[in-house]
């Protein structure tokens, strides 16, 4: 094992996959000499050259188009869209082109494209550089949506994403880039579509994604001292959702809290709550409480107040326990 930062784990995954498969290349703004806005592609240009590490103009629609066209020809592009907020300038290419190419052409083409992007708050970067928009993409058939919470997960999932023949929206979290964690020296993969029980518990299930996994683990720790035994499930993949793991846990605990950083209304928590209420309400004892950001744009100066945290998770857990 070795200790490594989340952002470094990304760079390692990219390097390993580029070494393994000549068809893998990276494309995006500042991915070359700049090494990526956050350092995810650091060192790749030096090793792999301009052929496989492509700096682009500020033209996000074109970046996604390049990735899709190259994938149709059998390459395996990893595109970087600097901030998840900027996905808004290339939604057509993602949603109407990339996501639908396989289906609308009757399965003619594989579309192994990964779009890496940085979501979330924590840098006081304001309303146009802090959003969590994963729910949008999970609503679009043809896309997979991945959202890793730890250095170990981000490396293993990114490698799997690159090997997947479907488009994968890969949501990294800015607040986690500097986080350190252990990973094996040897190669490993983590399957897309499987959630991970990050803490086993028997009283209440907390399903969380990305940064909120850590907030939920912190809340679980506090609550343990108060005699509440929380099971924390890290979704890892938002689409397809791992129903099996979630349902098994709720069968056990009968209590459910869902936690994400995006605004609560119409977020991913709604789908998880609805799924449980639709398919296994008889196992539920009490309400499903959702933790998410308030329904306002991310304020530059009030980010601390805005971001959901471990206190919010603990509060939600207490609420379902008191029912």
């Amino acid at each position: 094992m070795k200790e490594i930062r989340y952002i470094k784990a990304i760079a390692e995954a990219l390097r390993e996959e580029m070494e393994r498969d000549e068809n893998v290349f990276v494309v995006g703004e500042d991915v070359g000499g700049g090494g990526g806005a956050f350092g995810g592609t650091k060192g790749l240009l030096e090793t792999f050259g301009e052929r496989r590490v492509r700096d682009t103009p500020i033209s996000e629609s074109a970046i996604v188009g390049i990735a899709l066209g190259a994938a149709v020809r059998g390459l395996r592009p990893v595109a970087e869209i600097m901030f998840a907020d900027f996905l808004t300038v290339c939604m057509d290419q993602i949603v109407n082109q990339l996501a639908k190419t396989r289906y609308m052409f009757g399965g003619l083409f594989d579309t192994p494209v990964v779009i890496r992007t940085a979501c979330g708050g924590g840098l006081n970067a304001g309303p146009q550089h802090s959003q969590c928009l994963e729910a949008w993409f999970a609503h679009i058939p043809g896309l997979k949506v991945v959202s890793p919470a730890t250095p170990y997960d981000v490396k293993g999932l990114l490698k799997s994403a690159i090997r997947d023949d479907n488009p994968v929206l890969f949501f990294e979290n800015k607040a986690l880039y500097a986080m350190k964690g252990e990973i094996p020296e040897e190669e490993y993969l983590i399957p897309i579509g499987k959630a991970d029980v990050k803490r086993a518990g028997s009283d209440v299930t907390v399903v969380a994604a990305s940064r909120m996994v850590h907030e939920s683990l912190a809340a679980a720790k506090t609550l343990a001292e108060q005699g509440i035994d929380v099971e924390v499930i890290d979704l890892r993949t938002i689409c397809p959702l791992d129903k099996e793991t979630i349902f098994a846990s709720v069968e056990k605990t009968s209590k459910l809290v869902v936690a994400h950083e995006a605004v609560k209304p119409f977020g991913i928590g709604a789908e998880i709550a609805a799924m449980v209420c639709e398919e296994m309400i008889e196992h539920l004892d009490g309400p499903v409480v959702r933790v998410g950001a308030p329904f306002v744009p991310v304020p530059f100066n009030l980010e601390k107040l805005y971001l959901p945290n471990s206190d919010d998770v603990a509060g939600a857990v207490r609420k379902v326990m008191e029912y």
Partner: protein, 317 residues
């Protein structure tokens, strides 16, 4: 140009024309779901450009893309069955008129979003460069599409990276119900190439020989590492935006006059006058194409509709 090539150009144009005329018929009879856009009057562009490409080269087509796909050599039966939405269609019936693709003939995809093909064409061209395999990509789009942001982003990158791609603007003077002066101040879209340091050409799109000549140069340029070309072909949309559009917004005199530009009539006159062919030959081609089409229609109409089993296929790998 050798005789064989001349005859190919003629055959391609006429085939496109006759296929689309029949499509108008059967659509009007209610046999085709959805809506279709035909390129009647614009055949010179598709034929002139695609005749310069090999089967390994790729094209991206538009909502008005029947002619482009046919000229690139898509199988007529599979094409027809697709437009009918049948199982034997080249996309299993799921794409219809607006989203046709065919791997074998190099039709990399038609698009219902105006201007959306251009960014994707960068990617196939980039793959050619990545692999050094010499394949050329042509991306067709309309004059209206040249005002989408994707046009700008794509031309800039193609020029910057010297990509083997040709952006072929089929300028028919109309974008749906709106004519040029409503959407653009300048006359020639070809001129926009200069903004990117790219080669730009404007040509009479109803003169198939001219189109073929300029497309040939552009393909040669792309194939030999000389970079992309913006090739504007000025042509005329004879009918409405979609089949059924009564064109109330369009001056009646224009609707009448456009037929004078008929690329096929012009070319047949040339073929006859230059003694390249005689009338009997032309009549023979009509017959041949006619039977190809009827065969394809019979094939399409005989092909099964897809069922529930197909609904969930091909969403994910």
């Amino acid at each position: 140009m050798n005789r064989e090539k001349l005859l190919e150009l003629h055959y391609l144009m006429l085939k496109v024309r006759r296929v689309e005329e029949r499509l108008v018929d059967v659509f009007t009879l209610g046999k085709i779901p959805g809506f279709i856009h035909v390129s009647i009057g614009q055949e010179g562009v598709a034929a002139g450009v695609c005749s310069c490409l090999g089967p390994e080269d790729l094209i991206f087509t538009t909502h008005r893309g029947h002619g482009q796909a046919l000229a690139k050599g898509i199988d007529l039966k599979a094409f027809m069955a697709e437009i009918y939405g049948r199982r034997d269609g080249c996309c299993k019936g799921k794409s219809g008129s607006m989203h046709i693709a065919c791997k074998k003939s190099g039709v990399a995809g038609s698009n219902g979003i105006v201007g959306a093909g251009l960014p994707i064409s960068l990617g196939t061209a980039f793959a050619s460069m990545y692999r050094g395999d010499g394949k050329v990509t042509v991306c067709f789009f309309g004059d209206g599409a040249s005002n989408q942001g994707t046009f700008h982003e794509s031309l800039n990158i193609a020029a910057l990276w010297d990509l083997p791609v040709i952006f072929c603007c089929e300028n028919n003077g109309w974008a749906q119900f709106t004519s040029r002066k409503t959407y653009m101040k300048i006359e020639n879209i070809g001129k926009r190439a200069e903004a990117y340091g790219m080669c730009g050409v404007t040509v009479d799109g109803d003169d198939v020989l001219k189109v073929c000549e300029e497309a040939g140069r552009a393909v040669e340029r792309a194939r030999t590492g000389g970079g992309p070309t913006l090739l504007e072909c000025k042509t005329h949309r004879w009918l409405g935006h979609y089949v059924g559009d009564a064109q109330k917004y369009r001056p009646a005199v224009e609707v009448k006059q456009v037929k004078e530009f008929d690329p096929i009539a012009r070319f047949e006159k040339f073929l006859l006058q230059s003694n390249c062919v005689d009338q009997a030959y032309l009549d023979g081609v009509e017959v041949r194409i006619g039977s190809e089409i009827e065969e394809a229609i019979a094939f399409a109409e005989g092909s099964l509709l897809a069922g529930a089993d197909e609904l969930f296929n091909d969403v994910y790998a």
